[in-house]
Symmetry: C2
Subunit: 450 residues, 2 copies
């Protein structure tokens, strides 16, 4: 077993870990990064497909207020594209398919009012939540004792509006409304401004696509100091003394003064800590399960739906195809349709054979876009619940009674160990921007001690 | 690293693992057990205190319908005692202390009716749930989309009744009602018959105390084959091939044809599986956090409260002392008062200094029992959230949207690996009896394959 020494050891080379490393490097601090996978990027993964398309199998978009990601984009001179957002969106409900424009589907006036009211109500509630201390809201305990589904039952009256709201929730959280606490949902919305921002393309979280993908961006950030990153080194144990930490990974023993854990919460509980994690933190990380996110890509010779005046955006009530986007862009002729399968749907869908999955998806798309949709040049899907070093995506969720009781533990250091990861972010928690800010914060905690 | 070979490798020497081993042994099967701790017994831990009292710091009681535990009691000729249950119970609400007999405290008639109706309502609901397939109930999805706290909000109208109901829930689950799914609660009640059984001494889950404690019982079961159990061997990795499994613990490499995991769900995710756990199982074990259970023992020269015609049972609204029992027994003169601190209370309370904890508890007891309560000969407490090889107690809980979506995965084997543990039991899930039946079931799965 090889022994190494450094000042700061960073665990995890996703956006959070790379951001922490970047900040330490700029401050002239000695550091090393251990990464469990054979690649950097964590929950981003960009692939160049045989069809010629470049696709993000993990995190994909950048929103206009995700300033930290934009700093990286500028620094690396990465080209960007707007997500295609012209023409008519399609809503499939039962046997009926209707076209609409904008974010809110064309449904009957009553359902439309119901949906609009619910979204504005939840935006009003989330507007009152502090992202730094959501547990301090006067009604925090009440909001944290119920699921978001319970809130929806109370505040949504029409089946259609409820259904559409639920699809929005699944797309935002990669989980069902029944799984998450109302308070956590309010915090999450506020963290990215509001629900509208999270579900929108224009001025929203789905506005911009990166040339070379989101993994490409983080690779560019780290490309001149990749020698600091040790791949294929899953962390096994972490021992602390007064002097510092000693970490053991698959093939390395690293001594450091400080450590930053930049991995998903659920993975923190897999590390052998000596001394053990404080009990409140250990209980917290048992209570932040990862969502179930799946991306399905259909690559076509052309984005034929555009010629039919369709945007490529579908909202449908039929498992497994509930939400799609056109993610083609300026420098390809290919039509790239992205299908989201989320939450319970994702866990069930990925257990089918690939041929069956492809067949089901294509049947649904064909029903909506017609026969041209039946023969993509390529089908590719990925479910993040199968990734051992993420255990799901997009983020660590909180069911009821977690944020109020254990949320205050999120950013508390444990002796020499500091905690990064998008789940610890106040702004854009669950997103790339939150990952970057969390890495910067953890690095700052260490830099400010010297 | 020493290499061993066996037919069946059992991970965990708690009640489930020992039960599995016992069954395999009786069938003449070759087996070994790896245990992470330096002792057997898992979530049971019996200590002989300097004051002369023998106390269970973990699981304590046996109920009359826990037939599998009774078989062990008979087989080992273990003496038993009835939990002391005579005299008046005490209810402290605000500044008022009132005495009552039976399980239901003496409160105003309206609150009393409210409480009685809620308990009978929840018993009626849980009576409809199948313990083998709770996810198949027609309303399973609805019940699993809300917390038990939400149900209480709807069905309990008086503050007092709600408060008492909540104390009952905390004592049964070692968690708050806001943390668990209604469906999970209904399953859990049904699994032990009904809510009354779970909160009662007489004919209930708190009826019988074992001489030598519950850890003493499992030690007797295994005492002639302790050579089969390797202590201090936390499992690190588990590799499977067509032929069988290869397990690596701290100091051993064990090859076996089959494996039984008899450890808490949350610990399953800490094992390095190769190939990885199926994604649905991996997601399940992220969603079964352990409760937070704490036991506080106050040892007095005599059970002085008995002379005052008190039972030693207190129900109080004041943190941290909410529920107490007299657990003294026939062959000691000592008064042994057991205080439960549960859920959020437990996590907060254990983080205080021991002197502060003792002071707070004694102040509360003195307020109720008078000055004689101020000077116990011994104070001892234990919070199971601090136990690295349990991560909490009593059991792995389910928040909303877990039992319906991932519950069917609980008992599904993964190639050569079978799953025991009280959380996998249909009857008395969360209790010792459920642990035994789960071990027997897992062993039977393997025996039936040969």
């Amino acid at each position: 077993m090889k022994e190494l020494n450094t000042d700061v050891l960073i665990i995890g080379a996703g956006y959070a870990g790379i951001a922490a490393a970047k900040k330490l490097r700029e401050a002239g601090k000695d550091f090393l990064v251990l990464e469990a996978r054979d690649r950097i990027g964590g929950r981003t993964l960009t692939e160049n497909l045989s069809s010629g398309a470049t696709v993000d199998l993990g995190a994909k978009w950048v929103g206009p207020t995700q300033h930290l990601v934009w700093e990286w984009i500028k620094e690396t001179q990465t080209a960007t594209y707007d997500t295609y957002d012209q023409g008519k969106n399609l809503l499939k409900f039962g046997d009926k398919i209707s076209a609409y424009t904008g974010t809110i589907p064309k449904i009957d006036p009553i359902s439309l009012i119901d949906l609009g009211l619910a979204i504005s109500k939840i935006n009003r509630l989330s507007g009152q939540i502090s992202t730094s201390e959501p547990w301090n809201h006067p009604k925090a305990k009440e909001y944290d004792a119920m699921t978001l589904a319970t809130w929806m039952d109370k505040h949504l009256w029409t089946a259609k509006a409820k259904h559409l709201f639920e699809i929005g929730i699944q797309t935002v959280f990669a989980a069902d409304a029944s799984e998450i606490s109302l308070l956590f949902a309010l915090f999450y919305f506020k963290s990215g401004d509001n629900m509208d921002t999270l579900i929108s393309i224009k001025n929203g979280a789905q506005q911009t696509i990166l040339k070379g993908g989101t993994q490409g961006l983080v690779k560019k950030i780290a490309e001149t100091w990749m020698d600091k990153i040790h791949l294929n080194e899953p962390l096994m144990s972490l021992t602390q003394s007064d002097e510092g930490i000693m970490a053991e990974s698959a093939h390395l023993r690293v001594k450091a003064k400080k450590c930053i854990l930049a991995i998903p919460p659920v993975l923190i509980n897999t590390i052998g800590f000596n001394p053990p994690l404080p009990q409140q933190k250990a209980q917290l990380y048992q209570r932040m399960p990862m969502g179930a996110a799946m991306k399905v890509y259909l690559i076509y010779p052309t984005p034929f739906w555009r010629e039919l005046s369709f945007s490529g955006q579908i909202v449908s009530d039929e498992y497994p195809l509930k939400v799609t986007f056109d993610v083609g862009h300026a420098d390809t002729d290919l039509g790239i349709l992205l299908v989201f399968v989320e939450g319970n749907d994702a866990r069930n869908f990925i257990d089918l054979e690939e041929q069956e999955r492809k067949k089901m998806i294509l049947e649904r798309v064909e029903k909506i876009f017609g026969h041209q949709a039946a023969n993509p040049v390529q089908y590719l899907d990925k479910c993040w619940t199968e990734e051992v070093y993420s255990r799901g995506c997009y983020t660590g969720l909180m069911g009821p009674n977690t944020l109020t009781q254990l949320g205050p533990q999120l950013r508390v250091p444990f002796k020499h160990v500091h905690f990064a990861g998008t789940e610890t972010a106040e702004k854009w928690s669950g997103y790339l921007d939150g990952a970057i800010s969390s890495g910067y914060r953890a690095a700052s905690e260490i830099l400010s001690q010297n």
